[in-house]
């Protein structure tokens, strides 16, 4: 057994994997109860329209149908607007089932409950929804234009959020100004398990709800609010969750409706999305238009940044404010940008609502800055590495007050950049690129760099530790891990600090009946917040144990020490010692402590990612050759878990850069509602990732940790995008929006050709 000294920082095997690998893990779709009913939603097939009528009689009369509900038969409060705390704007509310108006294809209009799933599916097709179509608006800039069709006429505009940061004149004093117009495209989170929920009445009047969620306590609050019940009468459990990536951090209409149905019908009800439904009903991520100008001096020193970020909200101002505000906060990234003039706008359109998706605003800000750095370097004819070096914040500048109001904790950005360049062999790759450009090879080589900083771990989290007289250790966390490996990390922290074997520790989470309070797992928060909450609770347990030992050993508590084997003894008398379990037995019950760890200003993980791509200029196909990722997430508890998080994030970043985009036709019909049309990549598109790290502890929590859940997606997308543009630079290409799919790349090559000749004009 690893001893305490090596336990933190050790690649302990994940305890989460065996049930997942052997198929014994239970997801919402696996939950069964006698008399389970099945809910199927009837969804709008029209992007924008007035809801004239919903005819349910035929469906309700079909065999196996228990009930059919519309908004009028199942009155539920609108979903809470985010962020909470601001005065709610009732006119912008998001109903659980559409009333009067539908605003996107996929919006739930009615729900059919059947005794079998197939009965409910068939009956859902028999519900007739009469919608009077209205003009649609899909592009956020169109939505902001005068005379655009309005989604919320009472609001008077499709602009639902606006925030100004800094002051005008950010570019004053610049010797050179470069400008960019970028679109960070809308993508779908695509967890392998779609959304799902089940609920049933339990003993004592309690309603038990199960959901594929990242935040059970949030969902409990929302269900209690929607049903007008005290929170204590609602239990929410997140069983095994097959991925969330932020998209399952909020509350969905379908979850509240499922709970309401179970309450109303007094029977178990389950709802599980199909993949195609998931592509419509689960939030999408990203979707930001950026109009940017970066001012600098001729030597490459940045003077100021002026930008407008228009974040799509989709049909409702629901969880889109998360990426809206995070991209604002991270707008100046790792660079010393003295002056910022930023306009952030949120616009509603007739599309699936936007929400947080891995990175949630951080990748948007990073891609914007990293593209601007490249444009500046090209303008000044400097190597972009040099431009970065001149502008990266230095370790001595922390804590750093960014112009957005963010307070960066700690960092050594240049060290991560240097390490990534060394891992890559930057000079060799550039030399190879030069050779390639000399030759007549149709395959160009491109190198792309992204230096970034992101924000993680805001708010607070609950943790508790209990040493039982039998020797087992129970850890409770308010976080809701769902694949990340947090249970292993918390086990390591508790076992390491208590000096007990890992096998004695179990972690309880994701059940509001077993954990008194908590928040959840999102925003790269859990390792640091739950970890420090547990660490603090362990310290209290150790303190209590020392006091108990002092009584038992008839010594002064100050003279009692914990030995390497975890037991307590009087200093200098190791032969008489008492273990933790023994102390609990003598105390007549468990030794426990709990703690809520809060970290209001968050921590700032950072790193440098570098991509090498080969671009076939004849077909436009991009082949990712290498992806080097150097990440700094402060103190590392388990390097294997950190690497796992980086791998997943990097893959999703690459996916955005090269493959994925949610598309609609002109009338707002989604075109990418399955994984054949939505180019979700697989391992076949990924190279072996080359990881490295630097370790700059955060001063904001005792363990010195920062988050690592999202950085992969933050850095990799921008690095790959830069690499593609770099490969195409001999063709005069200065920018290419993502995804760099073959056609888009080929067009860029083609349109960028200096001779301006269309080689196939004769045939097209």
């Amino acid at each position: 057994m690893a001893s305490s000294v090596t336990l933190l920082g050790h690649a302990v095997e994940r305890s989460e994997d065996p049930p997942l690998l052997t198929g014994s893990a239970r997801f919402v779709a696996d939950l069964d109860r006698p008399g389970m009913l099945h809910a199927v939603f009837v969804r709008s097939q029209v992007a924008h329209g007035l809801l004239r009528s919903v005819e349910v009689a035929e469906a309700a009369a079909m065999p196996g149908v228990v009930a059919v509900f519309t908004a009028s038969d199942l009155p539920l409060a609108d979903l809470p607007e985010w962020p909470r705390g601001e005065p709610p704007r009732a006119e912008l509310g998001r109903p659980c089932l559409a009333r009067e108006r539908v605003r996107f294809v996929g919006e739930a209009v009615a729900v059919v409950v059947g005794s079998t799933l197939s009965a409910a599916v068939d009956a859902a097709e028999a519900v007739t929804v009469d919608i009077e179509p209205l003009p649609t608006v899909l592009d956020p800039l169109d939505a902001l234009a005068e005379r655009a069709p309005l989604l919320f006429p009472e609001h008077g505009s499709n602009e639902v959020l606006r925030q100004l940061t800094g002051a005008a004149g950010a570019l004053d004093g610049s010797e050179v100004v470069v400008r960019g117009h970028f679109y960070n495209q809308r993508v779908a989170p695509c967890p392998l398990e779609p959304n799902g929920a089940a609920a049933w009445p339990a003993a004592g009047g309690r309603l038990d709800c199960f959901a594929s969620t990242q935040a059970p306590f949030r969902l409990r609050a929302a269900i209690a609010l929607a049903l007008g019940r005290p929170e204590e009468t609602v239990r929410v459990v997140a069983p095994a969750v097959g991925g969330g990536f932020g998209a399952k951090g909020g509350v969905y209409p379908e979850q509240l409706v499922t709970a309401a149905l179970a309450e109303r019908l007094g029977q178990p009800v389950r709802f599980v999305e199909t993949r195609s439904e998931n592509m419509l009903a689960m939030c999408h991520g990203r979707g930001q238009v950026q109009e940017v100008a970066l001012g600098a001096r001729r030597d490459g020193t940045i003077v100021g940044l002026e930008a407008t970020m228009v974040t799509e909200m989709g049909a409702y101002c629901w969880r889109g404010p998360v990426p809206f505000s995070t991209s604002r906060i991270m707008a100046t990234g790792p660079y010393r940008i003295p002056k910022l003039s930023l306009t952030s706008i949120g616009a509603v359109t007739n599309t699936t609502p936007i929400g947080p998706y891995r990175g949630a605003g951080r990748p948007e800000a990073t891609a914007m800055l990293e593209r601007m750095i490249e444009l500046l370097a090209a303008e000044l004819d400097l190597d972009s590495v040099e431009v970065r070096r001149r502008n990266l914040l230095a370790p001595s500048e922390f804590p750093y007050a960014a112009p957005s109001g963010a307070s960066y904790d700690s960092g050594d950005y240049s060290a991560a950049l240097a390490k990534a360049l060394a891992l890559l062999g930057y000079e060799q790759v550039r030399a190879e690129q030069a050779d390639r450009r000399q030759s007549s090879c149709a395959t160009e080589l491109g190198v792309g760099i992204a230096t970034f900083v992101e924000i993680s771990g805001s708010g607070s989290e609950y943790g508790a530790v209990r040493v039982e007289p039998g020797g087992s250790v129970v850890v409770l966390t308010g976080s809701s891990p769902h694949g990340q490996g947090l249970a292993t990390t918390l086990t390591q922290i508790a076992a390491g600090m208590l000096k007990v074997p890992i096998s004695t520790v179990s972690v309880v989470h994701s059940d509001t009946a077993l954990v008194p309070r908590g928040v959840g797992t999102f925003g790269s928060r859990s390792g640091q917040l739950a970890g420090n909450a547990v660490a603090h609770a362990v310290e209290e347990v150790l303190e209590k144990a020392r006091e108990l030992a002092a009584v038992e050993l008839e010594a002064d508590p100050d003279d009692v020490v914990q030995l390497e084997d975890g037991s307590f003894a009087v200093a200098g008398v190791p032969s008489i010692s008492l273990g933790l379990a023994e102390l609990a037995r003598r105390a007549g019950g468990p030794i426990g402590a709990e703690w809520d760890f809060a970290q209001e200003s968050g921590t700032y993980p950072f790193g440098t990612h570098i991509a090498v791509v080969e671009v076939d200029t004849e077909t436009g196909k991009v082949e990712l050759r290498r992806l080097v990722a150097v990440d700094d997430c402060g103190r590392v508890v388990n390097p294997k878990i950190v690497a796992g998080q980086v791998h997943g994030g990097v893959a999703q970043g690459i996916a955005q850069a090269l493959f994925e985009a949610v598309r609609y036709d002109e009338s707002g019909n989604p075109l990418t509602t399955n994984l054949a049309d939505y180019a979700f990549p697989s391992a076949a598109e990924m190279p072996a990732f080359e990881l490295g790290e630097t370790e700059t502890p955060s001063p904001r929590n005792p363990l010195g940790m920062k988050g690592i859940g999202e950085s992969g997606a933050v850095g990799a997308a921008a690095a790959v995008q830069n690499a593609v543009v770099d490969a195409l630079s001999p063709y005069g290409v200065l920018h290419l929006d993502m995804p760099a799919d073959p056609e888009r790349v080929w067009r860029a090559v083609h349109e960028g050709r200096r001779d301006g000749q269309d080689p196939f004009s004769s045939s097209s």
Partner: protein, 290 residues
């Protein structure tokens, strides 16, 4: 749902219920059903009919039975006899789809993006149809009449596909948005037949049906060194070959790609397929250097 265990039984069932849908691997049919685009009243399975399984050689032809799966196309010795078909099969879907999906299903679906179709076009395959009344053989170009339309008559099934097994160079290239599970934006199959000394090109996803490119074929035939078994062409001739292949395409714009890109890419693929083509020697080995 009926699951006949012999060809006779199958033909009798189909004759008795000409409106029934046939199912082989179900990888097209069930997608239609799941998306509510088709709701069959009755279904007859061809998957367990022994006469429709596997393949065999007959003289200088290979007979591919209708229920031959992609996984079977990828295995030796068939993959050595028909390398372009094996290459096409490797690009289809995922292992699950390749284990279930069949050549008969691909033909009957007649999607412009069907991956075996350009190969069968370049091989000048013959589709063998059968009904309770008897059989008939039609060239693949006549079997597929338009987008998702075939000349299969009510009561008829696809029994097999006949292709030549002559000494030939074969290539298949596909452009799509990713490496696995990808629907072709365009594809090209090339067959350089050493006995007839002819190069054939089949173009996929660039027209309502798989297309041939007669002018490009003519040029390619003249540029191929039939004695050495390798292509011999200048940069300019290769460019012309690509251009002629592009000209043969009749692509459309859809959400996967524009016609313009498809037309261009199919030319690049044709040229590359030609550049890669190597005739095998008598032992079946292909020379490496031109």
């Amino acid at each position: 749902m009926l699951v006949p265990a012999s060809l006779d039984e199958l033909l009798a069932s189909v004759a008795a219920d000409t409106r029934a849908d046939l199912i082989a691997g179900g990888t097209d049919l069930m997608v239609e059903v799941n998306f509510g685009r088709r709701s069959p009243e009755s279904v007859i399975s061809v998957a367990l009919v022994p006469e429709l399984k596997s393949w065999y050689r007959s003289g200088d032809e290979v007979i591919l039975n209708a229920a031959l799966t992609y996984s079977e196309m990828m295995r030796p010795p068939l993959c050595e006899l028909l390398p372009a078909l094996a290459q096409a099969a490797r690009t289809v879907g995922s292992p699950q789809i390749r284990n279930a999906g069949t050549i008969g299903g691909n033909l009957a679906t007649a999607s412009p993006a069907g991956d075996t179709l350009p190969v069968l076009a370049a091989l000048e395959a013959t589709v063998v149809l059968e009904s309770a009344e008897g059989g008939r053989a039609v060239p693949v170009g006549e079997f597929i009449v338009s987008v998702k339309r075939t000349s299969l008559a009510p009561g008829e099934i696809i029994r097999s596909v006949r292709v030549p097994a002559r000494r030939a160079a074969q290539e298949f290239l596909k452009v799509g948005t990713r490496n696995a599970m990808v629907i072709a934006v365009c594809s090209v199959a090339l067959v350089a037949d050493a006995e007839r000394r002819e190069v054939h090109l089949g173009l996929g996803s660039v027209g309502p049906v798989p297309l041939r490119a007669p002018r490009a074929e003519e040029l390619a035939t003249s540029l191929f060194d039939w004695d050495e078994g390798v292509p011999r062409a200048s940069e300019k001739e290769l460019a012309r070959l690509a251009e002629l292949a592009s000209e043969a395409a009749r692509p459309i714009d859809d959400h996967r790609s524009t016609a313009r890109y498809r037309r261009h890419a199919v030319g690049v693929c044709a040229r590359r397929a030609f550049e890669r083509a190597r005739l095998p020697d008598a032992t079946g080995r292909r020379s490496v250097t031109p």
